[in-house]
Symmetry: C2
Subunit: 333 residues, 2 copies
DNA sequence: CTGTTAGCGCCTTCAT
DNA sequence: ATGAAGGCGCTAACAG
């Protein structure tokens, strides 16, 4: 038997109050006699009432949705940001609605439009690169907007992340301090991945400050992956470059590089030092833990959600939250 | 200047038609004169109209939401399923709304309730284990329900995945055929991860069919991870067990095991063979590609979405789609 | 092929 | 502290 789905009206009738009172109890708004509240809650329990979110959204012109736009799910980094978002949302009535851009600004624009159609309370996206249309939509909407991962530019409303340029400089300093002088770079496509590019720039800048510069660099044409890291390092070394350390665009690439060294019998770090970025678990499980930079992905997601929900009308001034980074000393550089 | 958000009414007015006609054009429903359609589309473009999804959902008692409940985001497996779901959804107007259970049935129940409150077109969840209440809610709702990953039981509506028991048996057969006889098992917590348990059962069954049985087994108390695999294999070997092959609960654990062998100078597979499950990229990037079973996670997500949207009223009979698995020969077993 | 008429279930505003 | 009235923007059902 398919019972009719209970609505506010049913609850109100059962509890002998007006719909309005039930609504107030549910939303914890206005003051309600303890006795009444209890009667209402009992009725809700008895009927197994669950509020219709669509009706609520329509009436209030605001939904309990948090739009989340991620560039990719292939890399473990963004699922970890999403985990942080979930952690920040747990215990609240908000639900995340997800979109994936594959690093394509046009797809992002379309997702911004689709997600705004749900009148979400907030929209979380990545980086500062948006189409003009997308930017306008985000600015004009009065909801809260977070731009994650990067803090090297002025956000529309809120930025949460770290300075990738600074992380690149820190890489340079670490390698220089360890006495490496012939430093190479193994990267991936940075047209799509702007933050990898920013780290590269910071790296070059940091080396230059020490009177050094990259002696060789190779970039894989596609996205980052362990296999790409392995093959790209192999290609770089095959050219006979004399390097004593290689900075990778991220840990995936660096772990791949480590695999190549294992296969080729190259001693790490004695003959070749390796340095990554992200601080992924796999890097720390290598026979020699990877020297890298921890990027606090989970924290970025969690912090963003908490900050967004903290003050739901958008504050007048944009805010930047630096979740920082830290060097993992490791044993490969 | 914050212009008023355009609604159907505005579009209708501008195009000189009734709201209903606009609605029909948008939803591609009923027949419309080519001339009228064009006028409406022009008006939509001119105003930058975006339909209010909440209003649409309320009026039609159905939303363009697909609820997705995942056990975890820590492991790359579920993000890959999610990628498949996204792929299946791309080009449709549906958006996924995500929840994470952390393998807790009570959390799942709460998510089922929260997500049903949005009147989604379909709900995708994992496995066959639900609280009684959750099961009742899923059965009573008339929307489509997919239970992913596993096909070894009767689904509420649709199951998409593979037989984990069969995968376990295939592991046994592979190892036996390669001539290994002293086979050990390194696993993780299977109270939460039922499918790992099913593979273990299949493994034992398969060994028995060959007149073999596990000579030793160790299970890590928590979830699977590379570090856990490394340490758990180390612990197993420290006990002095004479094994010539180890089957791991999954690739994360197996890759960790491989790392231990590297550190401890154990030749793989000569002195110890390793076998995993999932076919993750990292396993194939090892100096010796991991012997394992490919679980087609992406395909599971994509297939599920396609099958669900194919026939939106729930069919009378439950259906099972076997996305299968295949052995990756690798070089470690 | 197009228009008219009623809601969907809830929240907001105003009243008491 | 509670109730009454109206409407959020859209779609369904029925005309024509």
């Amino acid at each position: 038997m398919q019972a009719e789905t209970p609505t506010l009206t049913h609850v109100a009738r059962l509890a002998n109050v007006s719909e309005n009172t039930v609504s107030r109890v549910i939303r914890n708004k206005g003051s309600i006699a303890e006795e009444t509240r209890k009667r209402v809650l009992d009725a809700i329990g008895a009927l197994g009432y669950v509020p219709n979110r669509a009706a609520g959204s329509l009436a209030s012109s605001a939904s309990l949705i948090i739009g989340v736009i991620l560039p990719s799910l292939s890399n473990i980094v963004f699922p970890e940001v999403l985990r942080g978002i979930h952690a920040g949302l747990s215990g609240t009535p908000y639900q995340p609605m997800i979109g994936v851009t594959d690093y394509d600004p046009d797809k992002e624009q379309q997702l911004v439009s689709s997600l705004l159609a749900w009148q979400p309370t907030a929209l979380i996206t990545t980086g500062f690169e948006h189409t003009n249309t997308a930017r306008r939509m985000l600015e004009n909407s009065r909801i809260r907007i977070a731009e994650l991962m990067d803090i090297d530019s002025t956000p529309i409303d809120l930025a949460v992340g770290l300075s990738h340029r600074a992380a690149g400089r820190a890489t340079a300093e670490h390698l220089a301090q360890r006495g490496y002088t012939r430093i190479g770079y193994v990267g991936h496509d940075w047209v799509a991945d702007r933050r990898a590019r920013a780290r590269y720039d910071g790296l070059c800048e940091g080396l230059q400050a020490r009177g050094l510069s990259l002696v060789v660099e190779t970039r894989h044409e596609g996205g980052s992956s362990t296999l790409a890291g392995r093959d790209t390092l192999a290609a770089l070394l095959a050219d006979g470059a004399a390097v004593d350390a290689v900075a990778f665009s991220n840990d995936d690439m660096a772990v791949g590089g480590f695999m190549h060294c294992l296969s080729a019998g190259i001693d790490v770090p004695e003959r070749l030092a390796l340095f990554g970025f992200n601080g992924l678990e796999i890097g720390q499980a290598l026979p020699k833990p990877l020297s890298t930079i921890l990027s606090n992905r989970f924290l970025i997601g969690k912090t963003a959600v908490e900050a967004l929900l903290e003050s739901v009308p958008r504050p007048p001034e944009p805010e930047i939250i630096d979740t920082g980074f830290s060097i993992i000393e490791g044993a490969t550089a």
